[in-house]
């Protein structure tokens, strides 16, 4: 009898504990945050995770998609000269573009930061225009500027007795052109991020540095850059991913030519997968970006968390 009473009271305690732990769970901020983010998580799962796994599945099939070939497509790609050309070009394209975007963004952000507050908004707005216009549209304008036969740049150069330059006809000039347009489109993003970071650097630090006799370079090196480094790292990572996966600029400007010398992963994947009706190989080319970007992400994010711990 005593045993029965004891058991029922234990069960009641367990139920009460369960209810209170559920209540606690629901009251927790992290749970509410999770529930509120759930629609977005589901959206990402549908639009990103499912296609990603589907791409992996496709990459393991043969050309007619009737047979499982494991890593056969990657093995095939590794033997192709054009594939390694594309790897090389994607790295040149992404790294050069990101470095210059960061550099130009940093310099312009300083200029804008030093403009009196009254006129700053206008400049910020104007400088953001290249980033705000859909790249497919602005690249069409660039295409006309670089047009092989009717280039406005060459016309202008001709007035000074220079040129014509084969902007999209020569391998090196074509690489320069696609990188230039990518920098033009992407630099404002760096500028606005760096400007936000600059505004958050306390003035007292600069005042202290000035009292210590620091020149402008020392102020940048010892005050500005350390205060901005997390923003720089995140912006670089984000831009690296986006630039590596770029499609529209190269597709519109050169379509990968001349002689495949401007193809990057996305454009070559499209050429092979859609235009060449070899979807599994196209998927394999696209997926090759993942390990490269994953390595970059690990290094950059590890550095950020290290700095976070130091702070």
């Amino acid at each position: 009898m005593v045993d029965v009473a004891l058991q029922s009271s234990q069960a009641a305690v367990r139920t009460a504990r369960k209810q209170s732990s559920l209540r606690n769970l629901l009251n927790r901020k992290s749970t509410i945050a999770f529930l509120m983010a759930l629609p977005l998580i589901l959206l990402i799962a549908t639009l990103v995770i499912y296609p990603a796994f589907y791409a992996i599945h496709l990459a393991t099939l043969n050309k007619s998609m009737a047979r499982f070939v494991g890593l056969g497509n990657f093995e095939f790609l590794f033997k192709r000269e054009t594939f390694w050309l594309v790897v090389k070009q994607s790295c040149i394209f992404a790294i050069t573009a990101v470095v210059f975007k960061a550099l130009i963004g940093f310099i312009v952000a300083h200029f804008v930061h030093n403009i009196p507050a009254k006129g700053q908004r206008k400049w910020r707005g104007m400088l953001l225009v290249p980033w705000v216009i859909p790249p497919a549209m602005s690249t069409l304008a660039w295409l006309w500027l670089f047009d092989p036969s009717y280039s406005a740049f060459n016309y202008t150069l001709g007035l000074f007795g220079a040129g014509p330059i084969p902007w999209t006809g020569d391998a090196n000039w074509a690489r320069f052109s696609v990188i230039l347009v990518n920098i033009w489109v992407g630099a404002p993003f760096f500028m606005i991020m760096y400007l936000a970071a600059l505004k958050s650097v306390p003035d007292q630090l600069y005042e202290a540095a000035a009292i210590d006799g620091a020149n402008w370079w020392q102020r940048i090196w010892y005050v500005t850059l350390p205060m901005m480094r997390n923003i720089i790292a995140i912006t670089t990572l984000f831009s690296l991913i986006v630039t590596f996966a770029n499609f529209d600029i190269v597709r519109i400007l050169t379509a990968g030519g001349p002689l495949d010398h401007t193809h990057i992963f996305a454009t070559w994947a499209f050429r092979v997968g859609i235009e060449g009706s070899d979807i599994p190989l196209g998927a394999s080319v696209s997926l090759f970006m993942v390990p490269i970007l994953a390595v970059a992400a690990i290094f950059i994010l590890r550095d950020i968390s290290k700095r976070g711990n130091e702070a």
């Binding site: 000269e81 014509p164 902007w167 006809g169 050169t254 002689l259 235009e275 009706s277």
Partner: protein
């Protein structure tokens, strides 16, 4: 307020009546008794051309009581190719879909055989040309129905005045309107001389060396006139042959007379070259001439579309065939076949050709002498030789006769124009051939 109660007997009777009505309804001939049909046509660049196909389809739909939905899918940005790929992946989509050149073969496993429809069309319209058989047939099975809409020959379109003045060639005398060609002297040697003369006069031939279709088609026709094939019909590599070497040597000479930026040309570059008055010849269907008619009439009235120059192994011209395919998973295959028959009657084909200003080119033996090509102008007769009415040249497509799935890769990757460009830029012949052989080996994966 009285409330009427439904008795059990009434309920059973009503249910039985409703069920009977629902079961018998499809057999009652209503407004759309024969079901629904969705069609994805190629969005023609000539605005009025779409209307002609819409009218034909609507007239058929009204007669057959079929509810039809037509989508016009542009080829700009390869939207049509993306649609084909997406529908093939989803195993769902249009009942009829327009497919350019290589796509019937690329999707051969997923297409409904069309032997019955094409068999009847052959009886009605005559044999289709060899390129269409090559692109549309696999192991005796017609993969799709040859479409006139979008099909074209990309032959030379010359400036009558500039060719006469600078190269001493009267293209109208070589290809007189209404008569068989008198073009025995129009060979590769004469072509090179004319190219040189026009280049020196500042009106170079506008032949591109980029990776898009127009450039690849020209290279393909020149290669074929030397008998140069990268892969033969059995799938054997034939890159390192004398014919290919001769073709490369010819192209190297030709490139010296082409615009220096030809390596960056796309499919619009040659059109602009002609319309702007900068060039004496381009390789294109009459679309450039049609644009010139609107934007530069003084240029248009000097344009003459004619045949390719002949080479050691014959006279070849690129024919790009369009097809209408029906997916094996289509829900209304019979209706699809019905409308395809309606779209391929001689009257319908003529109507669509006229609507396109003579641009569309049926592949059928009996339909290469329609009035539209005799009458279009200015100058009158400019399109007379466009449909190859006297079978003066062999119609083909770049990379043929390789098995179509390999040829598609050679074509899409522009292997031939790349070879020409590499060699012309100073690469050793054997190195260029070795590179091309490696590429073609890769294209053979199954």
């Amino acid at each position: 307020m009285s409330r009427k109660k439904l008795s059990r007997r009434q309920f059973v009777a009503a249910t039985a009546l409703t069920s009977a009505a629902m079961i018998t309804a499809p057999y009652v001939r209503g407004a759309h008794a024969a079901g629904k049909l969705s069609i994805g046509f190629w969005d023609h660049w000539v605005p009025s051309a779409n209307k002609a196909s819409t009218d034909i389809v609507n007239a058929w739909a009204e007669k057959e009581k079929v509810e039809v939905q037509i989508d016009y899918i542009p080829s700009q940005g390869n939207k049509n190719l993306l649609t084909i790929a997406a529908e093939a992946q989803a195993k769902s989509g249009h009942d009829i879909l327009a497919m350019p050149t290589w796509w019937p073969h690329a999707q051969s496993e997923l297409l409904e055989p069309m032997n019955d429809v094409v068999g009847d069309l052959i009886k009605q319209n005559g044999e289709p040309n060899g390129t269409v058989k090559y692109l549309g047939q696999s192991k005796g099975k017609w993969l799709a129905v040859p479409a006139s809409v979008g099909s074209q020959i990309k032959g030379p379109c010359s400036r009558i005045d500039l060719m006469k003045k600078h190269a001493g060639i009267d293209v109208q005398a070589l290809y007189p309107a209404g008569q068989a060609p008198k073009a025995d002297s129009w060979n590769l040697e004469a072509f090179l001389k004319a190219a040189e003369a026009c280049q020196k006069a500042g009106v170079a031939f506008g032949i591109g060396l980029g990776e898009t279709s127009d450039n690849v088609d020209s290279a393909g026709a020149f290669f074929q006139s030397f008998g140069a094939h990268l892969v033969d019909e059995k799938g054997n590599l034939t890159v390192k042959t004398d014919a290919v070497r001769q073709a490369l040597d010819f192209y190297k000479k030709l490139i010296a007379f082409l615009p220096p930026d030809a390596g960056a040309w796309d499919d619009s570059s040659n059109n602009k070259w002609l319309v702007s008055g900068k060039g004496a010849l381009i390789m294109n269907p009459p679309s450039a001439w049609a644009v010139a008619k609107r934007d530069a009439p003084q240029v248009a009235e000097q344009c003459w579309t004619h045949g390719f120059p002949s080479g050691p192994k014959g006279r070849y011209a690129p024919y790009l065939g369009y097809f209408w395919g029906t997916w094996a998973f289509s829900k209304n295959k019979e209706a699809a076949k019905g409308v395809l028959r309606a779209l391929t009657t001689p009257d319908a084909i003529e109507k669509m050709c006229v609507a396109s200003g003579g641009y569309d080119l049926p592949c059928w033996e009996k339909l290469t002498t329609l009035k539209v090509w005799q009458e279009e102008g200015p100058p009158k007769g400019t399109l007379y030789h466009y449909p190859n009415p006297h079978n003066h040249q062999t119609l083909s497509i770049a990379a043929a006769p390789a098995p179509p799935k390999i040829a598609q890769q050679i074509y899409t990757q522009a292997t031939m124009t790349k070879m020409c460009l590499r060699y012309a830029q100073g690469e050793a012949m054997e190195k260029t051939l070795a590179w091309a052989e490696g590429e073609c080996e890769g294209f053979m994966r199954s």
